[in-house]
């Protein structure tokens, strides 16, 4: 575990982000854990995505995320506020419990626009069904 402070791994080893264009849309594909340490980097990637997007959504793919802390929720909410009708924010989730539960407990599943697949997020429909 070299490169991090205090013997901890550096944030680059805990969360990876890949950002790429699909037409006018930008897909931000996230892997790993989004928490107080790594969420600021996700914020920067989302800012860049809104900057790069043409007429099309910013799609945040969280299906490879294993943990979504409250700081990650706040980052998504901030991005949701930055979104517009021309560049909406769409979030893709699967049934990973440490991602779904926080969204449900905080009511953000009713605030964010959620999808189960990137392709459906790009289309804008159908919206996600979440596990109970």
């Amino acid at each position: 575990m070299s490169g991090g402070r205090g013997g901890f791994p550096p944030p680059e080893e805990l969360m990876w982000v890949r950002r790429y264009l699909r037409g006018g849309a930008v897909i931000v594909s996230v892997s790993g854990e989004v928490d107080v340490l790594t969420a600021p980097r996700l914020r920067r990637e989302l800012d860049a995505a809104f900057h790069d997007a043409g007429v099309g959504p910013v799609v945040v793919d969280l299906t490879d995320v294993s943990f979504l802390a409250s700081r990650g929720l706040a980052t998504l909410v901030d991005a949701h506020r930055d979104a517009s009708a021309m560049t909406p924010l769409r979030v893709v989730v699967d049934d990973t419990r440490p991602v779904i539960r926080p969204l449900q407990l905080t009511g953000l599943d009713g605030v964010l626009t959620l999808f189960n697949y990137v392709e459906e997020a790009l289309e804008g429909e159908p919206e996600a069904t979440l596990p109970e």
Binding site: G6, D35, V36, S70, R71, P98, P102, L105
Partner: protein
């Protein structure tokens, strides 16, 4: 990941006069108050809880609340200076063959609401309150903060992922 220290006698002494709740095992460690401590704490607590054959849903919930409490301490307790965060997790044996988990997160700093951002603090607190059966936050005047969470109660030795018993 280094193993937790198992200190059942020490934990029992600290628990005080609570004969109905007997700590079966305790896991205690201290970390520097850095943002990565949240990751380290939840990894250690998760590994330790999984070794006790607790339901996965319970492990998820305890891991989440522990992570939030450690994150708060790392961000706010020492205002950029050096400090330490103590974490202690215990599996408690209850009457009737039941178990629950108790986790204490302790810092000795002074919480400074440097930038009152109700955004993520609000979500973090909401999640902690929803996921813990009981949550206590104690401010020790001039000596930091202690967060104690008690999990839902589950049958001993159960790994049934379906619905652990919620708060009474």
């Amino acid at each position: 990941m280094p193993p937790c220290e198992v200190d059942p006698e020490g934990a029992a002494a600290r628990s005080g006069p609570a004969p109905v709740e007997a700590p079966l095992r305790a896991c205690a460690f201290t970390m520097p108050a850095q943002l990565a401590a949240a990751w380290a704490a939840r990894a250690r607590v998760r590994d330790w809880l999984e070794s006790h054959a607790l339901p996965p849903a319970l492990v998820d919930d305890v891991e989440y609340v522990t992570s939030e409490a450690v994150s708060n301490a790392a961000e706010h307790a020492y205002a950029g200076g050096d400090g330490a965060i103590e974490v202690e997790a215990e599996v408690l044996a209850l009457p009737g063959g039941l178990r629950r988990v108790r986790v204490r997160v302790r810092d000795h700093g002074r919480w400074q609401p440097v930038n009152p951002d109700p955004g993520h603090r609000g979500h973090g607190l909401a999640a902690m309150v929803a996921l813990a059966a009981e949550l206590v936050v104690r401010h020790h005047d001039g000596d930091g903060t202690e967060v104690v969470l008690l999990s839902a109660v589950v049958p001993a030795g159960s790994t049934d992922p379906a619905r652990s018993t919620g708060p009474a």
